[in-house]
């Protein structure tokens, strides 16, 4: 029955008071869930993988939304450090989300949690280079999101992960369109930081597609919105890519100045791979400024750093950059030596067959003294795109 034209305070205040009382009680239960989540996760992690689904199914204490949230958080923390672990954690989250009690949490919240869990699993698969499973998981996420009543923020999260997948599939235009939709949601929700992050991601998609001018504009716009204290790694990644785009668009001096301004951030965050990427970028800019000796030193260091850490794709791309320096220096013998060293090193790393074939092509051209800048750029560009997409074939020469 509807309540017409009465005093709202008199009509609805009792409902508000009752709701607040119930919410206060629920809050205590949420606190208990948060406090027990870490212990439950440890127990699950210590359980052999084949036994986990049965434990999750039969032990009600694991059917907790905050445990699911914690698994997603841990999965996120493992994305780039340990992609296989990220997949495992997100998969556990989907299994737990399946058993959440809709009578207790509400149908909509349970479906929303399932949507998030599948979305995280999809993104973890993408990072682990399993693009087909990533696509399937993200479709499952969308189904649950629809059933949940389409919470805008969860929707934007799925859009953002889907955009990352499209970028990995080199479908950059679609990635940018998806990010436009996510940007609108974050703007509407007045989440400046996430809006900034989505703008940066759109800038990266545009940059990888070759639209450097727009890419620079979007990354700068995103940088002006993010909270750098909240995600310093995002700030560094955005600055790093911005410097690369400046350099690629011919603004080499500006890129070098921006790099100097960012150097302290690389050092402060202190991760070894960041420092190797800094040397790589320095080498590329120095090369493009014609400082070939400086470029050679920096690129040699970067290549060695990546090889030592088993990061095959990036090591290969740095070596190709080094080859462009040798080419300009007329060091044909050094190109041959580099090509001969590369193939055996990368055979044992994370480089798939199609990529290895591209590197063999480089070796053949080096042996025949037929290496050109065009060939090196083509192989390097291919390796960048094929990194997370093992099914991408090496394009035939146009």
């Amino acid at each position: 029955m509807s309540e017409r034209k009465s005093d709202p305070e008199e009509t609805y205040k009792p409902a508000l008071d009752t709701t607040l009382e119930k919410a206060g009680e629920r809050l205590q239960e949420i606190h208990r869930e948060i406090e027990s989540a870490a212990g439950l996760l440890e127990e699950l992690a210590a359980t052999p993988e084949p036994e986990r689904p049965e434990r999750i199914r039969t032990e009600v204490r694991f059917h907790a939304l905050k445990l699911c949230d914690l698994l997603l958080k841990r999965s996120r923390e493992s994305w780039f450090r340990d992609p296989a672990r990220a997949v495992e954690l997100a998969r556990m989250a989907t299994e737990i989300a399946d058993w959440l009690d809709a009578g207790y949490y509400g149908e909509s919240l349970v479906e929303d949690e399932r949507a998030l869990a599948w979305a995280y699993l999809g993104n973890a698969y993408r990072i682990a280079s399993d693009l087909r499973s990533a696509e399937e998981a993200l479709l499952r996420a969308e189904e649950h999101h629809e059933r949940a009543g389409e919470d805008a923020l969860t929707g934007a999260q799925i859009l953002s992960f889907m955009a990352s997948l499209r970028s990995s599939q080199t479908r950059f235009k679609e990635a940018a369109d998806l990010l436009d939709r996510a940007i609108l949601v974050y703007r509407e929700a007045r989440d400046r930081h996430l809006e900034g992050r989505a703008l940066i991601k759109k800038g990266l998609a545009l940059g990888y597609s070759g639209d450097l001018k727009k890419a620079i504009r979007f990354v700068l716009s995103g940088l002006s919105k993010i909270n750098m204290l909240e995600e310093p790694n995002l700030l560094l990644s955005a600055r790093h890519n911005l410097i690369g785009f400046l350099n690629e668009s011919g603004r080499h001096e500006e890129a070098m100045r921006a790099l100097e301004e960012t150097r302290s951030l690389y050092l402060t965050l202190g991760e070894q791979t960041h420092l190797i990427r800094l040397r790589w970028l320095e080498g590329r800019i120095a090369r493009d400024l014609g400082r070939l000796d400086q470029a050679e030193t920096a690129l040699r260091e970067a290549s060695g750093g990546f090889i030592a850490r088993g990061i095959g794709f990036d090591a290969a791309r740095v070596s190709l950059d080094l080859a462009t320096v040798y080419l300009r220096q007329g060091k044909t013998e050094d190109i041959k030596r580099l090509a001969a060293e590369m193939v055996p090193v990368f055979e044992s790393r994370d480089v798939h067959q199609e990529a290895l074939a591209a590197l063999l092509l480089f070796r053949q051209a080096a042996d025949a003294e037929e290496v050109t800048l065009g060939l090196l750029e083509r192989i390097s560009d291919y390796l960048q795109r094929a990194r997370r997409n093992p099914e991408l074939p090496f394009p035939a020469e146009e």
Binding site: P8, A15, L16, T19, L153
Partner: protein
Amino acid sequence: MNMPSSGKPTQDDLQRLAVRLQPKILRLFQRHEVSRETAELLLTAALTRLLYRWDRVRDRERWLLSALRKGLAASREAISKGAQG
């Protein structure tokens, strides 16, 4: 814009939110002429969801009002479908 105080909501957070939003929530229910029971159901669902999503929602006041509006629209649609059926 209210920034997240922490990932874990407290009773104080809840009280502050309720005090600030009370006039708007009451007006919203009155405008949609919903029953007291429906109001309680919708508010309980939205608030419970917000408490679980506390660390993901930056502007919580806006989120809660938007969730209530969505719930009210869905409730009106269900009533209208019921009347037609």
